[in-house]
Symmetry: C2
Subunit: 279 residues, 2 copies
């Protein structure tokens, strides 16, 4: 299988590494709008060659889009215009807008909407690594709009990445993603801003960070270019979740202001139930 990967950052790069290593891809053609990323990806052996998008697409059996959500909205229809029988897939964290954008494209059935739920807070081809997807879930959205053949091909690709398939429509995907992934990032960004605002002495932050701060704030290192279009495209869901989240914080604030230890304890005990779900 000759694969074209558009976007050679953390996601595209990590896919390239394992698809080659695990013999799914025989040849990988890469494209990245940054020459530095493209050249780096080739130099460190993540891709076999670099081409412009048009050439890359027509030279491949399969096209993977691994670019931010705003760029995907532009590039996906362009790729669908270019293909004949190729299978196309993307890795966006946000699916609704994209689904609408290509709903009536004559090559719609060649496309499989996918969201591999894996990543780190790092970016660029330097961050790419083997095994990043192992054991995690990949969400296939609106699978009934893809041809059986396209779905089979993409599922097989994720099987080589050792991911577990989950099926949802785009609408439900975006709502769940807001609750479980997008809000975590906003929570972490806001936490970083709070501390940076108040703690002028960076040494204090460093010394005290082992008290749990480091793990909650890890996501605050995540890329602005990646996350801005996600929040913008998932605005309604994210705002709804933010309202709930802020009201939970206000519950804590009220209980603490009133020195109501019973309520503080109840809130924490209730939050502890997350243990049942997460290992």
């Amino acid at each position: 299988m000759k694969i074209c990967i558009i976007g050679l950052g953390l996601m595209g790069g990590s896919m390239a590494i394992d698809l080659k290593k695990r013999n799914y891809a025989t040849h990988i053609i890469g494209y990245d709008q940054s020459n530095l990323h493209a050249q780096t990806a080739q130099n460190i052996g993540i891709v076999d060659e670099i081409m412009e998008i048009e050439d890359a697409v027509i030279s491949s059996d399969m096209v993977v889009l691994a670019v931010p959500a705003d760029a995907t909205l532009v590039i996906l229809p362009r790729v669908l215009d270019l293909i004949e029988n190729q299978v196309v897939t993307d890795v966006c964290s946000i699916k609704g807008n994209l689904a609408e954008r290509i709903k009536y494209h004559q090559k719609r059935s060649n496309y499989v909407a996918a969201h591999p739920m894996a990543g780190t807070e790092h970016t660029g081809p330097w961050a790419a690594k083997s095994g990043m997807f192992d054991g995690k879930a990949v969400i296939f959205c609106d699978a009934e709009s893809s041809s059986e053949e396209a779905l089979h091909t993409v599922r097989d690709m994720y099987d080589h990445l050792h991911m577990r398939p989950v099926y949802m429509n785009s609408f439900n995907h975006d709502a769940h993603a807001a609750y479980i992934s997008h809000i975590s990032h906003i929570s972490s960004f806001a936490l970083a801003l709070t501390v940076l605002d108040k703690e002028r002495n960076e040494k204090n932050i460093f010394d005290l960070a082992s008290g749990g701060f480091d793990s909650t704030v890890r996501l605050a290192k995540s890329s602005a270019d990646m996350w801005t279009p996600i929040f913008a495209q998932n605005a309604d869901n994210v705002v709804t979740v933010l309202d709930t989240y802020i009201s939970k914080l206000q519950d804590f604030k009220k209980a603490i202001e009133e020195n109501n230890k019973t309520t503080i304890n109840q809130l924490i005990t209730e939050a502890n139930k997350i243990k049942k779900v997460l290992s």
Copy 2:
């Protein structure tokens, strides 16, 4: 050195393991109000023997209090009443109230207020592990109120735990801890409550959790009995930080509602500065 450790949970248990292993303690006497914890700690070899508090204190050269903040307020004065020349220290995450409580005790100078900035979200002697403190910071509060000998003994103990000493007064400690540790926990508890409120389908949480949720919500597993008195005792600082945090979240909410990508991007880029501080 014969050491008495009061409280045989994650903190006390982990200290016991490394203090023995690294030849600081020759004999460790333990006490825990839970018989199950005390017996477990003895059975798995964390402590050499179990005694009641009074006997444990008078049989030791040094006393380490490793119990929640509310229990420390009660037990510390009681231990200071019992000692002759013993050195006493604690591991509380909150220092102001405690400092006030024993300010005029005639044995004040035998006591060293310490906050080792290490831990996990797990609890009990089962969670105790070697190396937990390595490389982290220990904050010594109001060190000028301790005798040189007591300070030397406790510093030496933390040196055997491979911790870096940092000095602060209790007042500053509690303000910094609110910003860097306490708010992270509230942020995480509130996140867990938000998700548990809205996501009735636990399988969705599990499948989608790899999108960053698992790391931000890890702290939400932390014990209610440990954190309730911390928030209650640090109420003023915690409420101030919560106000800032909620206002940062409202900045995000406003920018997302207005679909103002420039502001969303700026907020994230500003938050990214936390990279400079955290590795």
